[in-house]
């Protein structure tokens, strides 16, 4: 019982996301049978939007582990995502591999890339590491966009016509895909929670706070940073794989600075180093994009920029971060108001 109460917000979120497709169906007047049969309608559409949010959330979680928890600022994180997406696409399309084998390759590719990034780790620190990773990712971006490789990677248009497995076809089996993506996100989140609370995760936090001191205490900080990088890399690559299966086209933009900046914005909106902030941030980020586009069309990016500036000014530590900092203050204020109201009513 105590455990349930302590995690009530998380459980509520799980339940809400679990019934979400049916909730939309009720609002839209669609029958449950139609939803289960993947008939097109509002429910299917919003499932698609949420799947995108789940994928973005996993990507942002991986960035939060690297930057928010371990304190490694990387401007090349999108490369993990793109490596995952492109590996999946090429394995499914050119090599005709089934999905499970593909995922194994994706994991290996993620590890390989994490090791590549970690080679420069002992040499460069702070903003320089960010710039070197930006260099790697931008070169990768240029390579996958290059004309010479366009038969494999699709050049600057992107990778199209990726064959989707029948049991996970985003068009015909959207509901299955929805729950797979949801389960994936929740699993990654729980795993990350556990990781941060583990001794290894504690050392990662120590590295973020003060690397010299962590080293003085006898930890080989390189090893811990490598672990964080590998876990983060595998997660981001898997998110990329899911992206490749879900989207009709894998654009080279996934490797560009834009995608890294998206992940950064998401965890800034949600709250750095909070993990749950990545989930909230991804939801806010994608739905803002979607609804502003729908309402304001042409001038949506202007409004989006204003919203970012407003968030920076009025939600100083991200949504979850500010909530944690001000929770008790706000609760006390509401209790006071409630007591006042009671007094008035009694009189």
């Amino acid at each position: 019982m105590k455990i349930l109460r302590a995690h009530s917000a998380f459980l509520a979120l799980v339940v809400f996301l679990g019934v979400f497709p049916f909730l939309i169906a009720i609002l839209d007047g669609q029958s449950f049978a139609d939803v289960l049969a993947n008939q097109s309608g509002q429910s299917k559409f919003y499932q698609g939007l949420l799947i995108e949010i789940f994928i973005l959330a996993v990507f942002a979680l991986s960035y939060d582990l690297l930057f928010g928890i371990t304190g490694l600022l990387s401007f090349g994180h999108a490369m993990f995502f793109a490596v995952g997406a492109y590996t999946t696409g090429i394995a499914l399309k050119s090599l005709q591999l089934p999905l499970p084998q593909t995922l194994v390759i994706v994991v290996l590719a993620g590890i390989a890339q994490a090791v590549l990034f970690s080679i420069v780790l002992p040499r460069v620190k702070g903003i320089t590491f960010a710039l070197v990773t930006l260099g790697f990712a931008s070169v990768f971006h240029i390579i996958i966009m290059s004309h010479e490789l366009s038969s494999i990677t699709g050049g600057d248009v992107g990778l199209q016509n990726i064959p989707k497995p029948d049991y996970l076809d985003p068009a015909a089996q959207r509901l299955t895909f929805y729950f797979v993506a949801l389960a994936f996100m929740l699993l990654v989140y729980l795993f990350y929670r556990r990781f941060v609370d583990s001794p290894t995760g504690r050392v990662c936090v120590a590295i973020r706070e003060n690397e010299h001191r962590a080293r003085m205490l006898g930890y080989n900080t390189f090893y811990f940073k490598l672990v964080a990088l590998i876990i983060s890399g595998i997660t981001a690559a898997l998110a990329g794989a899911l992206h490749a299966v879900y989207q009709p086209i894998v654009s080279p933009v996934t490797a560009s600075l834009v995608y890294t900046v998206n992940a950064l914005l998401i965890i800034l909106v949600g709250g750095i180093g909070t993990l749950s902030g990545a989930l909230v941030g991804a939801a806010v980020f994608r739905s803002l994009q979607f609804f502003l586009d729908k309402i304001f069309a042409e001038s949506s990016s202007l409004i989006l920029g204003m919203v970012y500036v407003a968030i920076v000014l009025f939600v100083p530590y991200g949504i979850i971060g500010t909530w944690r900092a001000k929770k008790f203050e706000w609760q006390a204020a509401w209790r006071e108001r409630w007591a006042k109201l009671k007094k008035i009513v009694q009189q």
């Binding site: 290059s146 004309h147 800034l268 968030i311």
Partner: protein
């Protein structure tokens, strides 16, 4: 002699690095025709100067305040657009000058309000009231601005679109549209509205400053009143002499207007920078990572505003007359002849060189380099900036008002970027995406040279500019590699890739860049 050897020994890795780069550079010259490499080097120098103008400001800001100003590319672009306006449409610029002066006149009243509020013993104003007053002020401001007559363009109508005015000026026609007129009662109302609106905004700012218990001293209040009066009178004078000034600017010709455009854009950029720092960035020094989000957001906003005002189409900014004559003794044989005949091209080492693109831009880059170098090395504020880059806390402890220096440096950095935008305008056209690529180049240049080092910014920009132009040139003529039968022609994507690779290599060998100090 001994000193030199000692310096070399101290900076061993820099020396080796520079020697390697020089050797590499000389080896690239081997495979080229002389006039190919003359033009490539000159173009590289010009690209380097524009990159340097963006990079130096960025590096000063990052060095002193640790702010990665990701809006710097957008501010570069805004500089180009503002310069374009002063250059192509001086009438619009003068029309805008009056409301602008009145707006600033209202804003500088903030210390006066603060003082008056303190005297009236106003306290406990709450969270909401300042914002209500600011929004009210903005509404009044909008009311005044929309009623003031401004002869502008309209990107939606072809005949009136800014693109057309650019092309017309390039053809030598300076027929500006007839000025918009309004009844004098309406104009007076508009001017009062602007002044009152911005004064209300200033009152809101003063109120929110009250809440943070920052009182303004009495002397500042008198100064503010004087400044506001002066600016109001300036605005009035500009309004009364508007037509005469417009006529004289049109008659002055493109060369003088270009220099005016450079000054106006630099000042507007500096003003924007000062405004950004003092209102938005200042609260964020305690949580540095959110500066990234703020500057990104500001960059997006700036770009969208520019698109809304000037339209999406790329605009031409004709070269000033001093560098734009064809025929009649042109192309000249020497630079002096070219300047005397106002030629657009001349021969330099038997290579045909464009006076503006390859010479003027580079010369301006060198002028700014020397000017900023003198500012940093020879003045008191330069000394404070250098000290602040080294150890900010210590400078604060010595009792120097670091806040003012921060605002100054931010204004300086953004002003330099805006100047770079005007310089780049005639060479590469004015478009809303001109800043992004350049910001990346500047970042790469800074990483190569050392993020917080001023000579590093110059050296890095030089390397990036030269490398880019050499790759571009080799893309045209091909490079003979020993293990390939055909000459290898680098494709356009290799231009950014080469600079990125150079950055990665330099950073792996020297993590602090060529000139960066070890932390």
């Amino acid at each position: 002699m001994e000193n030199i050897i000692q310096t070399l020994r101290k900076n061993r890795s820099q020396t080796i690095m520079l020697a390697t780069l020089v050797v590499l550079f000389l080896s690239t010259l081997q495979g080229m025709e002389p006039n190919d490499w003359v033009i490539t080097v000159l173009r590289g120098l010009a690209v380097a100067s524009v990159t340097f103008l963006v990079a130096s400001g960025f590096s000063l800001i990052f060095g002193l305040m640790d702010v990665l100003n990701l809006a710097h590319g957008t501010l570069f672009m805004i500089g180009a657009y503002v310069g374009w306006t002063a250059y192509v449409r001086p009438d619009t610029m003068l029309d805008l000058a009056t409301p602008f002066a009145l707006f600033i006149a209202g804003l500088v009243l903030a210390p006066l309000w603060g003082n008056l509020l303190a005297r009236a013993r106003v306290s406990n104003v709450g969270h909401i009231l300042p914002w209500v007053i600011i929004i009210l002020g903005l509404v009044v401001l909008a009311f005044g601005l929309t009623r003031y007559p401004i002869t502008a363009w309209d990107p939606a109508v072809y005949d009136k679109s800014p693109v057309v005015f650019g092309v017309k000026l390039d053809l030598g026609q300076t027929d500006l549209p007839a000025p918009v007129t309004a009844e004098s009662a309406q104009i007076v109302l508009a001017m009062v509205g602007i002044l009152a609106g911005s004064a209300l905004v200033a009152l809101g700012i003063a109120l929110s400053a009250m809440r943070q218990r920052r009182a303004a001293p009495a002397r500042a209040a008198w100064k503010a009143l004087g400044l506001a009066l002066g600016l109001s009178i300036l605005g009035l004078v500009l309004h009364l002499w508007n037509d005469a000034l417009t006529a004289s600017l049109v008659a002055a010709g493109t060369t003088w207007r270009f220099f005016l455009a450079m000054i106006v854009a630099t000042l507007v950029g500096a003003g924007l920078g000062a405004l950004m720092e003092s209102t938005l960035i200042r609260p964020l020094y305690v949580r540095p990572i959110y500066q990234l989000m703020l500057t990104l957001g500001l960059g997006v906003i700036g770009r969208e505003v520019v698109i809304a005002i000037w339209g999406r189409t790329q605009m031409q900014m004709p070269k000033p007359a001093l560098f734009n004559t064809i025929g009649k003794g042109c192309p000249a044989q020497t630079l002096w002849d070219a300047l005397a005949n106002q030629c657009s091209t001349f021969y330099f080492m038997e290579t045909r060189v464009r006076t503006y693109n390859e010479v003027f831009v580079f010369v301006m880059g060198v002028v700014v380099l020397i000017a900023v170098w003198m500012l940093l090395q020879r003045t008191r504020i330069g000394m404070i900036i250098r000290a602040g880059v080294q150890d900010r806390a210590m400078v604060e402890a010595l009792g120097i008002n670091v806040r003012q220096v921060f605002t100054f440096v931010f204004a300086l950095g953004v002003g330099l970027a805006a100047l770079g935008g005007v310089l780049a305008g005639p060479a590469m056209g004015v478009s809303d995406d001109m800043g992004e690529g350049l910001l990346l180049s500047a970042l790469i240049a800074l990483a190569i040279g050392g993020l917080t080092s001023f000579p590093g910014a110059a050296a890095g920009s030089l390397l990036v500019g030269l490398l880019q132009q050499f790759i571009v040139k080799y893309g045209q003529i091909g490079i003979a590699l020993p293990f390939l039968a055909q000459p290898f022609k680098p494709t356009p994507p290799l231009v950014p890739a080469s600079t990125l690779l150079l950055m990665v290599i330099v950073l792996l060998i020297m993590p602090n860049g060529l000139f960066g100090r070890k932390e």
